[in-house]
């Protein structure tokens, strides 16, 4: 069903209000904590990628045999890892 038709009914408007209220409550109570948890995971992933692919970047961490075994699991994350690890960072990024 097209979204515009659904939006016109009072029920969907009520649902939108409910979703907005839920969103505000989630944003106030939990969003900051969720992003902090994601950031912690990101740093752990950085570590994982350096350990697994480090030798290919010239960092002799573990032998290539193990790197190659883990490689299939690491490949899907390479793009986003590269993006994160090469991003310019500053102390003002760490306020929250």
């Amino acid at each position: 069903m097209p979204e515009t038709k659904e939006a016109a009914t009072p029920k969907s408007r009520g649902r939108r209000v409910k979703d907005a209220a839920k969103g505000v409550l989630y944003g106030m109570a939990a969003h900051g904590h969720v992003t902090a948890a994601l950031r912690t995971r990101m740093y752990l992933e950085h570590l994982f990628m350096f350990i697994t692919l480090g030798d290919m970047l010239g960092v002799p961490v573990i032998p290539p045999y193990y790197s190659l075994k883990i490689l299939p699991y690491a490949v899907p994350n390479i793009k986003s890892w590269k993006q994160r690890v090469f991003r310019e960072r500053d102390f003002t990024d760490q306020v929250f």
Binding site: D19, A20, A21, K22, G23, V24, L25, Y26, G27, M28, A29, A30, H31, G32, H33, T35, A36, A37, L38, R39, T40, R41, M42, S80, Q83, R84, R87, E88, D90, F91, T92, D93, Q94, V95, F96
Partner: protein, 619 residues
């Protein structure tokens, strides 16, 4: 018929009305004509989506996050100093400051970061003012964090020492409940709703136990120093332990009572026309003002002091860091910046208004006391806010305004606001210290534990020696100066894009000049006190005209007695030094920004006309 003009109701309605005009009138106009936000333009959240820092978030979620990140103790305690000049000037600053400057800064910082690919203020300062400008900002932020920490540690210690010792057990209860919830959530993997229910039940239980198990220290005037030490220990743990273990679950649980209190006060203030007839009446009792000078002769003139005393709620530099650090990276579409940045700031103004009303309904005798009359002591901000808040709320809850649970609840709210924010500030200080001293001769200061000890030890020393108002005004000065500098960064960007700059330039210049003047006044106050004492000049206020009062007024008990007058003199000297450093670093930063603005204007004039979004200006 109830005379609602005697109640704060009218002022709540007027403020909400003016904030609505600020949002739907001035705000929308600035959004359309100055920044020209475009919902179709790709934001950094989409451009650099990594699912961690950059990802689009609903405007409602982001509004909640932004509001929670910016609304803390500032809008609650700032108005207390503001009412020294009468409640009307304080109210006018809360309305006018937010209308013309406050929301503009939060929204502008967010838009600036969005237009600069989600970069925060450090790299943007580097781009506009060079490496020295960024170093300058780093130094300023370090001092700013020390001053915030000192003010908040002093307040937390004073809160624990007040309310007849009822707030310490509930505070510990929240901390322990937070630790337990963290374990249940992350180790046991329990459902978040069940964990929240358990946590809130424990918070309620600890609140109930607070008045039963009162903790009153036996060391008289040294109590605050000891409480400050306890606070430092807790903050040390918060800064060095992993966030999911301590800060995260504790802040999560603390959120519920803190925001319930705000909601209750606002509803209580709105319902005052219907509760006026009850006894005691919930009516405006404090002096309206304006008083151009502090009648007690401590703070100084209304300009510039009022404008730094009420920071958050009118305008705050901290918000620019939040807006550019995290929220801008998660903005779904550009047009969300106004509801998220501007909307959250205007909502915080309502929190400041609610706090101001909590002071307005108290009598002048209760708040400021009667000089020389021990039966009518001044209650200060510590007791005034919870008592005023309890008075507003008691009617709608149908309980007595003097109910010990109610005053303990509001006292606890003050403590948790200060403690949760301070835990984050301490952690941020540690990270900034690691950035500053990671290499070189002083790299030991970059160490996690050393940085935390320094970041808490120095503020502790300030907290136990300086008067809280002196610390608060330095904090306000530094915070507002940061806001002025943020507005100047926004103005430089607008100038580079050949967009109209006067709407941000005028507030930026006002904030920079006002806050530098406030810092200069503070420096003068401390220096003058020392000089007058050394010159043996009689102190002009109070019953005792002893010259030592010049320096003793500026320090806190137990140092404010004649036996420690040389120590008090030394502390006055240290405060002069701190003020001078803040002033000079701030001035240097301001000069760099004004130079950058001038060169941006010159460059922009030489180019073809464009607009803030980098596109061609529409006719």
């Amino acid at each position: 018929m109830v005379d609602f003009l005697q109640t704060p109701f009218l002022w709540v309605v007027v403020t909400i009305g003016l904030y609505a005009v600020a949002y739907w009138g001035y705000g929308k106009w600035i959004d359309r004509n100055v920044w020209r936000s475009n919902a179709k333009k790709t934001t950094p959240a989409h451009m650099y989506m990594d699912g961690v820092e950059y990802f689009p978030v609903s405007r409602y979620v982001l509004w909640g996050y932004q509001f929670k990140s910016v609304a803390a103790l500032g809008p609650i305690l700032g108005p207390f100093i503001g009412v020294t000049y009468g409640w009307l000037p304080a109210l006018l600053w809360i309305i006018g400051g937010n209308f013309f400057i406050g929301w503009l800064q939060d929204y502008g910082s967010m838009m600036l970061s969005v237009r600069k690919e989600g970069r925060s203020f450090g790299p943007i300062t580097y781009e506009f003012t060079g490496a020295r400008g960024r170093t300058n900002l780093l130094a300023f932020v370090l001092f700013y964090l020390v001053i915030i920490s000192a003010a908040f540690i002093a307040l937390i210690a004073t809160f624990w020492n007040s309310f007849k010792g009822t707030t310490f057990v509930p505070t510990v209860g929240i901390l322990l409940a937070g630790l337990l919830c963290g374990q249940l959530l992350y180790r046991v993997k329990m459902n978040v709703f069940a964990v929240t229910a358990i946590g809130l039940a424990l918070v309620a239980l600890s609140l109930y136990l607070g008045p039963i198990f009162r903790v009153v220290l036996p060391w008289g005037s040294w109590n605050v120093a000891v409480w400050a030490g306890v606070c430092v220990l807790i903050l040390y743990l918060a800064a060095v332990l992993p966030t999911p273990t301590f800060i995260q679950p504790t802040n999560y649980l603390a959120f519920y009572p803190a925001y319930a209190a705000i909601l209750l006060i606002l509803v209580g203030a709105l319902l005052t026309p219907f509760t006026l007839g009850s006894s005691p009446p919930v009516a405006i009792q404090l002096d309206m003002g304006p008083f151009l000078n502090d009648p007690q002769g401590i703070l100084g003139p209304i300009w510039p002091i009022l404008f730094v005393a009420i920071a958050c709620g009118a305008i705050s530099g901290w918000h620019s860091l939040v807006s550019s650090s995290s929220s801008a990276k998660q903005l779904d579409i550009e047009t969300d910046a106004l509801p998220v940045g501007g909307g959250a700031m205007l909502s915080e103004g309502l929190l400041a208004l609610a706090s101001l009303i909590a002071y307005m309904v108290l009598t002048k005798t209760f708040v400021f006391g009667v000089a020389g009359d021990p039966t009518n002591p001044a209650h200060g901000n510590i007791a005034s806010w919870p008592v005023g808040a309890a008075l507003l709320v008691s009617r709608i809850l149908g309980v007595s305004a003097t109910d010990v649970l109610l005053t303990t609840f509001f006292g606890l709210v003050l403590v948790i606001y200060a403690l949760t924010v301070q835990a984050l500030v301490t952690r941020f200080f540690r990270l900034v210290a690691a950035e500053t001293w990671s290499e070189g001769r002083f790299r030991v200061f970059g160490n996690k534990h050393v940085a935390t000890v320094v970041g808490l030890g120095v503020p502790w020393a300030f907290a136990v020696s300086g008067s809280w108002w002196a610390l608060w005004l330095y904090f306000g000065g530094a915070n507002q100066l940061l806001a002025g500098l943020a507005i100047m960064l926004i103005t430089i960007h607008l100038a580079k894009m050949r967009a109209p700059t006067k709407f941000s330039l005028i507030p930026g210049v006002f904030m920079v000049v006002t806050t530098l003047a406030a810092l200069a006044w503070q420096i003068y106050t401390f220096a003058n006190s020392a000089i007058q004492y050394l010159g043996n000049v009689q102190y002009p206020f109070g019953a005792n005209h002893d010259p030592s009062q010049w320096v003793l007024t500026n320090v806190r008990p137990p140092i404010n007695v004649k036996d420690y007058v040389w120590l008090a003199l030394g502390i006055n000297g240290v405060f002069v030094l701190v003020g001078l450093i803040l002033f000079l670093v701030g001035l240097s930063m301001a000069i760099r920004l004004f130079q950058s603005y001038r060169s941006s204007m010159t460059e922009a004039r030489a180019r073809a006309p464009t607009a803030a979004d980098g596109g061609t200006r529409e006719k």
